[in-house]
């Protein structure tokens, strides 16, 4: 009986102790993450978007003249790649050096090559993105390209044409170029983009600063909740509004209408948003902006 009593006490103590630890973990671990994410959520979004944009931005830089978006799609999908090769083939004729075998090989080998090329580029792209921060990228690109070319050796003629000129300028090796088209595309894109393509936080901060400066929220509202306005904004590449900002938050009270107008007015008055760099246009062409004055008018 006595043992039972002791045991009970022991169990009780241990139970309470465990419960306390668990409760503590519930509160301390579960409660803390909540406040932090909102502020950090922005950078995370930016990074993911930038991944896409790197590719897109690279496309931009490559053509220089037109169609940044289509290039992105091409990279993602196999068909566009074929098209590019076809166009390049024409150029090959001019080059004349190695292309002769290409025409025959195309139909049979083209598809398998492309698939390989597609699957590999992704890995490389990822590797590149990871390594982007380091400048030595070009070297890596050179180093890695050789590996893929070995396997798809036959396709070389087709791929060469794509960016033969660029490749020729940089290197003398002809075969490497074949596998290199896909690789080079990402690599070359990655190089110029790596440093500049990512929309920087300072750009966003500058935008926020401009808007905060131009935004004159109705002050002294009794219920500031009504003042929170969410606006979807589409920009033109020159940093001006592409269309009237679309207000997402609903609200029909005079106060929310006044708040809505003040937010839209800030957007109009802040144009052009020249702190947004054109090379990052893909990222900022559409932004969802929340105007929330509650922290500034708490208790007036």
């Amino acid at each position: 009986m006595r043992e039972n009593g002791d045991m009970r006490i022991a169990y009780t103590i241990s139970g309470i102790g465990h419960a306390a630890v668990l409760l503590w973990s519930v509160w301390s671990l579960a409660a803390k993450p909540l406040p932090a994410p909102p502020s950090e959520a922005l950078p995370v979004d930016i990074v993911t978007v930038s991944d896409f944009t790197k590719i897109t931005a690279g496309n931009k830089s490559a053509p220089n003249a037109e169609t940044p978006k289509p290039l992105v799609e091409q990279v993602a999908e196999p068909k566009p790649v074929e098209d590019t090769t076809a166009k390049l083939d024409k150029k090959e004729v001019k080059a004349v050096r190695e292309p002769p075998p290409a025409p025959e090989a195309k139909p049979v080998e083209a598809k398998p090559e492309k698939k390989q090329a597609e699957t590999k580029p992704d890995q490389i792209a990822e590797a590149l993105t990871k390594d982007e921060s380091k400048k030595p990228e070009p070297k890596k690109a050179e180093a890695k390209p050789p590996a893929p070319p070995k396997k798809p050796a036959p396709p070389t003629p087709k791929f060469d044409p794509k960016q033969v000129e660029a490749l020729l300028d940089k290197r003398t090796a002809t075969r490497v170029a074949a596998a290199g088209d896909t690789l080079n595309n990402t690599a070359s894109l990655g190089l110029p983009n790596a440093g500049a393509a990512q929309m920087s936080l300072s750009e966003l901060d500058a935008l926020r600063q401009r808007l905060a400066n131009k935004w004159n929220p109705p002050a002294g509202a009794k219920d500031p909740q009504e003042l929170v306005v969410q606006v979807q904004v589409r920009f033109k590449p020159d940093g001006t509004l592409a269309a009237r900002p679309q207000v997402l938050s609903s609200g029909t009270s005079p106060l929310s209408i006044a708040a809505r107008d003040s937010a839209v007015r800030a957007l109009y008055a802040g144009q052009p948003f020249d702190m947004l760099k054109p090379e990052h246009y893909e990222q900022w062409k559409e932004i969802e902006i929340t105007f929330d004055p509650r922290s500034m008018i708490r208790g007036y």
Partner: protein
């Protein structure tokens, strides 16, 4: 022998509980840690703004067939002056205007107005015919190039000032989201004559100081005039012969009526929000208590029964509570109680004495006079006593009264010496303090709600 079994079951139970508790805790932890889903559209939070007066352009209204060729200009000038006094707008100097508004039937050239940084533009027209005055206005958002508001009013020509005030209110409400207060009046005690023989008369004027009119001749001493919610009646205290009494007066007809014909001194009257009752204090002996009288049945109800001085009652805008000052704690402090009396709760706890509480028509604040260290301050606090803020402070400030929208407080200030009191307005933020010009010294202002009669 039963015990071990029960102990065992207890163990089992407790274990199960603990496991469940642990599972719950784990789930809670996981839920807390689960990452937020990332979305593709770039998002941005703007949590601070630049609160400043809205730059607004108010070009002269177009006058059509008006007796006074400057009628349009007069209206627009009153509007600009109203907006400027509110502190929320910054009318732009007419000299800077590029486009001259000759008609309101075509779109203004927004680029011209954008260039002088106007965010809003008011155009209007005043037309006279058949002895009637028609005023129309349009409010434009310059940057968005958008029509925000437009309205027209018809009245007799001598009401042109009110039209300007009403248009001001419409602009104010559309751009700030809050009701305006320009179409309102102020009743106050006009003080003239040398300091030792002051003549005090009840006077009425527009909110901007125009159209001053005297309601009494100055034979009797008058104090604490207060507007009813219908803005056509006031209640006030008057010292004629004998004890001070509480009166009602219709400001349109001038008709007077005595409210409290009791022995003793009745003072500090104020209307209930529905204007059906008047609450006041009645002094008998050394103490004063709060009473309320139904104006139709004349039935009087006692609200407090103390041996101290309870006075300066003011209803909450919903009529369910009353705030008043009392020295029941040894010093004047502000209390809140239910409208039918009962337990009162003290809400003022700062240093010094608090008096003359006035509930904001918006319900969110109570304005008061605070006396500490020989200085008088006007401040506001929430009805629960929190958020106390001093709006203005000085040698002598007293008698706060609220604008119709609860955004502005009017008070009177006496600098001491041989001069007399003058009226000031100050924003609830404590900014934008402005002198309100009166013909002579003025005290005890009471600000009316928005006028209801539409001409």
């Amino acid at each position: 022998m039963i015990e071990p079994a029960s102990a065992a079951s207890w163990h089992a139970l407790s274990r199960r509980r603990l496991i469940m508790l642990g599972a719950g805790a784990a789930a809670g932890t996981l839920a807390g840690l689960s990452p937020q889903r990332a979305t593709a559209v770039l998002k941005l939070d703007v949590t601070s703004g630049n609160v400043q007066p809205i730059p607004i352009a108010v070009p002269d209204f177009v006058s059509v067939a008006t007796q006074d060729p400057a009628a349009g200009r007069n209206v627009s000038q009153i509007i600009a002056s109203n907006l400027q006094r509110s502190g929320l707008f910054a009318p732009i100097d007419q000299a800077a205007y590029i486009e001259k508004i000759l008609t309101i039937d075509t779109l203004p050239r927004f680029a011209d107005w954008r260039q002088i940084n106007a965010q809003a533009l008011v155009t209007g027209r005043v037309t006279q015919g058949d002895g009637r005055l028609k005023a129309e206005f349009r409010l434009w958002d310059v940057f968005a190039g958008q029509h925000l508001h437009g309205q027209q009013y018809t009245t007799t020509p001598d009401n042109w000032r009110r039209i300007a005030h009403i248009i001001s209110d419409a602009i104010y409400e559309r751009l700030t989201g809050e009701k305006g207060y320009f179409d309102s009046r102020v009743v106050f005690v006009d003080e003239s004559g040398p300091k030792d023989r002051r003549i005090k008369r009840l006077a009425l004027m527009d909110q901007d100081g125009a159209n001053v009119r005297y309601l009494t001749r100055g034979d009797d001493l008058v104090l604490t005039p207060r507007f009813s919610s219908t803005a056509d009646t006031i209640t006030y205290m008057s010292y004629g012969q004998g004890d001070p009494k509480v009166y009602l007066m219709n400001i349109e007809t001038g008709q007077r009526e005595i409210v409290s014909n009791f022995p003793g001194m009745s003072f500090s009257p104020r209307f209930s929000p529905d204007s059906q009752r008047v609450i006041f204090s009645l002094q008998r002996g050394g103490n004063s208590n709060l009473f309320v009288m139904d104006l139709r049945s004349k039935a009087t109800t006692r609200l407090t029964d103390t041996q101290v001085i309870d006075t300066a009652p003011s209803y909450s805008p919903d009529g369910t509570r009353i705030t008043f000052e009392s020295d029941r704690g040894g010093q004047q402090q502000i209390y809140v109680m239910a409208a039918n009396g009962g337990q009162a709760q003290r809400i003022s706890f700062g240093d010094g004495a608090y008096s003359t509480p006035v509930w904001s028509p918006r319900g969110d604040y109570i304005a008061f006079t605070k006396q500490a260290q020989g200085r008088f301050a006007i401040g506001i606090m929430r009805p629960d006593g929190s958020g106390e803020r001093i709006l203005t402070e000085g040698y002598h400030n007293e008698g706060p009264t609220w604008s119709a929208n609860g955004r502005v407080v009017m008070l009177f200030r006496d600098p001491g010496g041989n001069s007399g009191p003058t009226l000031y307005t100050v924003d609830v933020t404590g900014r934008n303090e402005q002198l309100l010009k009166t013909p002579s010294y003025a005290s005890d202002p009471s600000w009316s709600p928005l006028l209801q009669s539409r001409f």
